[in-house]
């Protein structure tokens, strides 16, 4: 395997094959994910949608190698990922988290947090890394001087931009975006989503976009996988899913979304009233 995993290719960049995850809690076994299979194509934005308990966070952790799957395999660029990830695997897949407050170490500067990725993976000569950090900050729309600031001096949206810059620092081809905008205000959300779209085009990135927000999915994803209680129940191109959802659960999800316009209301009406059962 080369030092950086190949990232120019046309086939699936990530293949999840019959993956299941069961957690053992004392005498109980909790099945968080069961028999999940799907492929993510290079350069696409693949959305993973579900409510709490759907297993979407477990899926993110499996892809990132935080813990190994109980059954099945996850392959990156055609090669199965081992249970214990090497540096080369870490570098290939990076993460943007939901909570911008906790994702940056409060005791370290923005620059130190960004530099970590460069140091670990030996990106650039040590003397150049300062400039690389500045370049990363500018790439996400922040001034390079922010490198010397503490996270506490930044707004939520700015911190989330730093998290994105950190994920870019590894020059990964695949980013797992775990609810990257759900903690942000709506104006900030729009700007961050716009930035994510721009970066994807510019660096030919692949996104696995994990969220509960269907409105965001509709506007940013190429394909959508709907998860319910640890199972993948529907997988379709975004346009298809929002016009002809196949499962009652997906219909219920879409029609439960609070909307702001008449046009959206008509779409919702067409897909039926939300179900009345309490989950």
């Amino acid at each position: 395997m080369s030092k950086t995993m190949s990232k120019t290719m046309s086939g699936p960049i990530l293949k999840v094959d019959k993956v299941g995850k069961t957690f053992v809690q004392g005498v109980h076994q909790v099945e968080a994910l069961a028999d999940i299979s799907f492929s993510v194509m290079a350069g696409e934005c693949f959305a993973v949608v579900g409510e709490s308990g759907s297993g979407k966070s477990t899926l993110a952790n499996l892809i990132l190698g935080i813990y190994p799957p109980t059954t099945g395999t996850i392959s990156y660029a055609g090669e199965p990922l081992p249970a214990k990830r090497q540096l080369v695997h870490r570098r290939a897949i990076q993460l943007v988290q939901q909570n911008p407050l906790s994702a940056l170490n409060p005791k370290r500067t923005i620059g130190a947090s960004l530099r970590l990725a460069l140091d670990v993976h030996g990106i650039g000569a040590p003397s150049e890394r300062r400039d690389i950090v500045g370049g990363l900050l500018e790439e996400v729309g922040l001034p390079a001087e922010f490198a010397s600031r503490a996270p506490a001096a930044l707004s939520g949206g700015q911190r989330q931009r730093v998290s994105i810059a950190r994920a870019l620092a590894c020059q990964s081809a695949l980013l797992v975006l775990d609810e990257p905008t759900s903690a942000l205000d709506v104006l900030v959300q729009a700007r961050v989503l716009k930035l994510l779209e721009k970066l994807r085009r510019k660096h030919n990135l692949t996104y696995i976009f994990i969220t509960h927000d269907l409105c965001v999915v509709r506007n940013i994803a190429d394909r959508v996988a709907v998860f319910e209680k640890g199972r993948l129940i529907e997988l379709a191109a975004t346009e298809t899913l929002f016009t002809r959802p196949q499962t009652p659960y997906t219909r219920a999800l879409i029609s439960a979304v609070p909307v702001v316009s008449e046009e959206e209301e008509r779409l919702r009406q067409r897909l039926g009233e939300p179900q009345n059962a309490i989950g």
Partner: protein
């Protein structure tokens, strides 16, 4: 008796920090008629939650807060009331629902015991038996299965959605004339949130309860509110009937806010500039909407 349940007149709030005064609210005026559902919408830090706390009288104890202006509840000046008087209002004529239902309920007591406590605020002499009957009837009224089992349960034994329903039933148990709901259901899944909103809407309609609905979600405003006030950095920038504001937004901030919401019908992510100077434009008032009921 006046037709207005709540009237906020020129409310100003500032905090003293490190010897400086930081203004949080600027001349906020807001009124709610009997049985009317009014939304106060804004981003984090806009001052919407703090407004709710002032109305509830939960901020006055902070020594660093300076509040001026007038708040009238059913024609009565709340500023003239003693702390005990305001305490007596809370949970009886004025009640509240908060964001996270599970942490708003006390984990050490059963739902039934907490219901009894709530009912006792309205009717101090109510017996445990009568309280249980009334609570059971209320839970059954919100189509909750097995109300007796729910009353015997502790909050952590119920799902978030059930706790939210219990909270709503409790908040309306003493038939308040004003319900203050601070981002109810934001911590819940969308399907559960949609059901609780629907339930809340039905209940306040039946009881003729007025609602001050605090939220950041414009979609929820559209589903729930008759009128809306848009709050930006402690200033009301636009107000009017919900339909008018959402279909014909005039203030630059409201327009940006509406543009920034991703649509279920697609159309891409809006390009929202970093420019915020235009948001300082004066308030736009759509006038009293047809929905404003006497």
């Amino acid at each position: 008796m006046t037709a207005l349940v709540l009237e906020i007149i020129n409310l100003n709030l500032s905090f003293a920090r490190h010897g400086e005064q930081t203004a949080v609210l600027h001349d906020v005026c807001l009124s709610i008629a009997r049985g009317e559902r009014v939304a106060l919408v804004g981003e984090s830090g806009s001052g919407k939650s703090v407004t709710a706390r002032i109305v509830l009288g939960l901020l006055g104890e902070l020594a660093s807060a300076r509040i001026t202006g007038e708040i009238r509840f059913e024609g009565q000046d709340l500023g003239a009331l003693s702390p005990a008087g305001r305490h007596a209002l809370r949970g009886t004529k004025m009640s509240m629902i908060f964001q996270d239902p599970t942490s708003s309920l006390n984990p050490a007591y059963t739902i039934g015991a907490q219901f009894h406590e709530v009912l006792r605020r309205g009717a101090p002499k109510i017996s445990a038996k009568a309280a249980k009957e009334r609570a059971g009837a209320m839970l059954a009224g919100i189509s909750m299965d097995q109300p007796d089992r729910v009353l015997g349960s502790y909050p952590f034994q119920l799902s978030g959605g059930m706790n939210q329903r219990v909270m709503i039933a409790m908040a309306l148990a003493n038939t308040p004339s004003l319900l203050i709901a601070d981002e109810p259901g934001t911590a819940l899944d969308v399907t559960v949130q949609a059901q609780t909103l629907k339930l809340m809407r039905e209940l306040v309609e039946d009881n003729g309860t007025a609602v001050l609905f605090i939220t950041h979600n414009i979609g929820v405003v559209r589903e729930f509110a008759d009128r809306v006030y848009v709050l930006y950095r402690g200033r009301i920038v636009e107000k009017g009937a919900t339909h008018a504001v959402l279909t014909d937004a005039r203030h630059p901030y409201t327009r940006a806010l509406l543009a920034a919401v991703p649509r279920l019908t697609g159309g891409g992510i809006a390009d929202i500039g970093e420019e915020t100077d235009v948001f300082a434009a004066p308030m736009f008032d759509h006038g009293p909407g047809a929905e404003a009921r006497p």
